[in-house]
């Protein structure tokens, strides 16, 4: 086993691009679920809208990249309004089902052959739509040390990505510690009590949905830019569920927990995957048990099992406060 390689891969992933994407997706969910109690299962849809909003205007319509970002945020707000208007008056589980359905609608339309010419069908869009962004890259070469390894482009994505995460975490911190943030938590705890104080709960829930959605869309920007391609099937329901895993792992209703959760999540995933891969290729794990291309399946099984066990034995996650977040439906 090449432990140095495993360490390098694992540590690079811990602060890598995927961690940034999942941290942003989970920060958005933290706004929805952690602070407002909205069960949004359509976060993958917000990421998909971010990713396609970067790729489609640049590739299919030839617009500059900065305009694509604005279009992405606009689309995200529209999507949040479309989701929120019919469902925010309903009970939590209705919102869950409608949002998961809406995210699937986005994915299936994106991958359909009907819109192949603009959205790229099931192959998605691959192209140099991030050229404007990478033109700003000051790094001529990547870094390759025993513990960390990024190529020049990834290094640029990682540095700008973490800056974005830091900025959003700061904004979140300001928001949730403001009177507005306390109102959100009050809605989560007892909607009727807030309503009896004369507040328009519906409007506040809508604000939460939009803000969290736009943060998720920023995750979609990073997803698309880092890979210079958009694949519709990356934005399935599994993405939402893993973002929830990240959030619950860190502990909902804590500003920093999605970031820590994402780091631990990707640390574990890449570590387990690399160890299994090395084990399989060095014949330490017999072939009849795990084949070379079954490693990622094992990885997903462990992710599912981990989510279950986490929820059963430590629903408040690592940093969460069990008393603050009882994680219960308002039935």
């Amino acid at each position: 086993m090449d432990f140095l390689f495993i360490t390098q891969q694992t540590l690079s992933a811990t602060i890598g691009v995927n961690t940034i994407i999942f941290a942003l997706a989970a920060i958005g969910l933290n706004m929805h679920f952690g602070y407002t109690g909205l069960l949004n299962f359509g976060q993958a849809g917000f990421l998909a809208i971010g990713a396609y909003s970067v790729a489609v205007p640049v590739i299919s319509f030839g617009l500059p990249l900065w305009m694509a970002f604005l279009i992405g945020i606009f689309n995200s707000v529209i999507f949040a309004l479309l989701l929120g208007v019919p469902t925010l008056r309903l009970r939590a589980d209705y919102l869950a089902i409608v949002t998961i359905a809406a995210a699937e609608i986005v994915r299936q339309i994106a991958r359909s052959a009907t819109f192949n010419s603009t959205l790229g069908g099931s192959d998605g869009i691959t192209g140099k739509f991030g050229a404007d962004f990478f033109a700003l890259n000051p790094f001529k070469s990547g870094i390759d040390t025993p513990i960390l390894r990024f190529n020049a482009n990834d290094l640029w994505v990682v540095i700008t990505g973490w800056s974005l995460v830091a900025f959003i975490v700061f904004i979140m911190w300001v928001m949730v510690n403001s009177p507005w943030g306390r109102l959100m938590r009050a809605i989560r705890e007892d909607e009727d009590a807030v309503r009896s104080l004369g507040k328009n709960v519906y409007l506040y829930k809508m604000q939460s949905l939009i803000i969290g959605g736009v943060i998720g869309t920023c995750g979609g920007f990073v997803y698309a830019l880092s890979r210079q391609s958009v694949q519709p099937d990356n934005y399935g329901t599994a993405l939402t569920f893993f973002a929830y895993t990240v959030l619950i792992l860190g502990g909902a209703a804590r500003v920093f927990s999605p970031v820590i959760g994402a780091m631990i999540f990707w640390f574990l995933i890449v570590f387990i995957e690399q160890v299994l891969r090395q084990g399989v290729s060095n014949n330490l794990i017999p072939d009849w048990l795990i084949g070379a291309n079954q490693v990622s399946q094992i990885r997903f099984m462990l992710m599912g099992l981990g989510l279950m066990l986490l929820m059963i034995y430590r629903p408040q996650g690592i940093f969460g406060d069990r008393k603050e977040l009882a994680l219960d439906a308002k039935a």
Binding site: R91, V98, M308, I312
Partner: protein, 428 residues
């Protein structure tokens, strides 16, 4: 010279093969500059028999227009006098019964004539194409398909709805009950070698045991006892669904497999409809199962108790109903029905590890449409979703049919938030 003959924009690889056969013909044609040239072709049926009296019409530059028809040998030709772009259209109505263009969109072929004196051969590949059926026929067939799909959804949705009603659990792992039953049917029939008629009921029984009895006993009952919250249980069911889905992928692989028996059963034509005997048999049994479950809910002591629990667990418990026993019964019934839904899909369409996931959103849509937690609402919602998914393909591309169903779900929730048969108190 061959470069000038780029008239044949052939999409299909089979046609490319034909094109290769034709190129030598083109190259060997006498190249006389500025001499009369012809567009020609041979139209043969899928059995390579020449087809006569097939109309061909040609439009060209400067208002050029010409008609031709194939002779006894299936040959047609039209002389042209000037260079330019021609479009050649075959009169599809002249084709005999059972014959159609292999690509219905290629009824008109464009040809660019860059050089006169080189004859151009135009291809219209004919196959035993699907005879264009009328709107009425298609509607009737899609209605039947929609009812069948609705039935599969209903079998799964009934269990999901009952479990939701009695325990409050929104079970995202419900689709995996279908997959497990499908895989069991496959293993029992293809690996163990049992006939499907024995493997299917056995799979349903095993499904009821594993997905119903054991799942509730060792997972959900302990969680209820711990007082785990409803959203926590929902997330646990998501974890379970992911775990099971990739476990099934791990042991079964990613392909869709057909049962060895009845795989290519011939269809029966009945008036406007065509169906296979296996689909009818599985459907009839499915309807009987739903009727049985409805009678169980309405007539038996346990069924009435389950409705009481769904209405108010505390009151039911106070009036002497063993709530845990009722929930166990509901789990077993729900798992058995969902398992049978999985068996239907497996027998008629084959089984893959994604089967349950593909159905889950439709099941949720049906249950939500009818009103969460109401049994008859689940049935109505399933039928609407099943019919809508199939009938919408009359107007929208087939690949978007699920999108249509999900949009309808959202629209109905705007107009009637509690679902079609839901109770008002369940909202807000």
């Amino acid at each position: 010279m061959a470069k000038s003959l780029t008239l044949l924009t052939l999409g299909r690889s089979a046609l490319l093969f034909l094109a290769l056969l034709i190129f030598p013909v083109l190259l060997s044609s006498p190249a006389q500059a500025e001499t009369p040239t012809k567009l020609y072709g041979v139209i043969t049926s899928s059995e390579d028999e020449p087809l006569s009296d097939i109309g061909i019409s040609i439009l060209g530059p400067d208002g050029f227009s010409s008609q031709a028809a194939t002779n006894e040998q299936g040959d047609w030709e039209v002389p042209i006098l000037s260079k330019g772009s021609y479009s050649i259209t075959i009169n599809v109505d002249d084709l005999p019964e059972g014959q159609a263009l292999t690509n219905p969109d290629k009824g008109t072929v464009k040809a660019n004539v860059f050089m006169l004196g080189v004859d151009l051969r135009i291809l219209f590949p004919i196959g035993p194409g699907i005879v264009q059926s009328s709107l009425l026929e298609r509607s009737a067939q899609l209605t039947l398909d929609g009812i069948l799909l609705g039935l599969v959804i209903a079998l799964a949705a009934l269990g999901l709805s009952l479990i939701f009603g009695t325990t409050g659990l929104t079970n995202f792992a419900h689709g995996e009950i279908l997959t497990l039953a499908g895989l069991l049917t496959y293993y029992l029939s293809a690996i163990v070698g049992l006939p499907v008629l024995a493997a299917a009921p056995l799979a349903v029984l095993l499904g009821a045991l594993i997905s119903g009895f054991l799942q509730d006993k060792y997972l959900w009952k302990p969680l209820r006892r711990r007082g785990t919250g409803l959203i926590a249980m929902l997330v646990i069911s998501i974890g379970l669904a992911i775990f099971l889905r990739y476990f099934f992928l791990f042991i079964f692989g990613g392909d869709t497999r057909q049962l060895p028996q009845y795989a290519g059963q011939a269809g029966i034509e009945l008036g406007l409809l065509s169906f296979t005997p296996k689909s009818i048999l599985t459907t009839v049994i499915g309807i009987l199962l739903i009727l049985g479950a409805t009678l169980w809910l309405l007539r038996t002591r346990m069924g009435k108790a389950s409705r009481a629990v769904a209405d108010n667990p505390a009151l039911a418990s106070a009036s002497g109903i063993d709530v845990q026993k009722v929930i166990r019964a509901v789990w077993i019934l729900g798992a058995a029905l969902a398992s049978y839904a999985g068996v239907i899909v497996t027998i008629n369409q084959g089984v893959s590890f994604l089967m349950g996931q593909d159905m889950l959103l439709l099941i949720f849509a049906a249950v939500t449409l009818g009103g969460l937690g109401t049994a008859n609402g689940a049935l109505v919602g399933s039928l609407i979703i099943g019919l809508f998914v199939q009938l919408s393909t009359l107007f929208i591309p087939t690949e978007l049919k699920y999108v249509g169903a999900l949009i309808v779900l959202i629209l109905i929730l705007i107009i009637r938030p509690q679902g079609i048969l839901g109770k008002k108190e369940r909202i807000g």
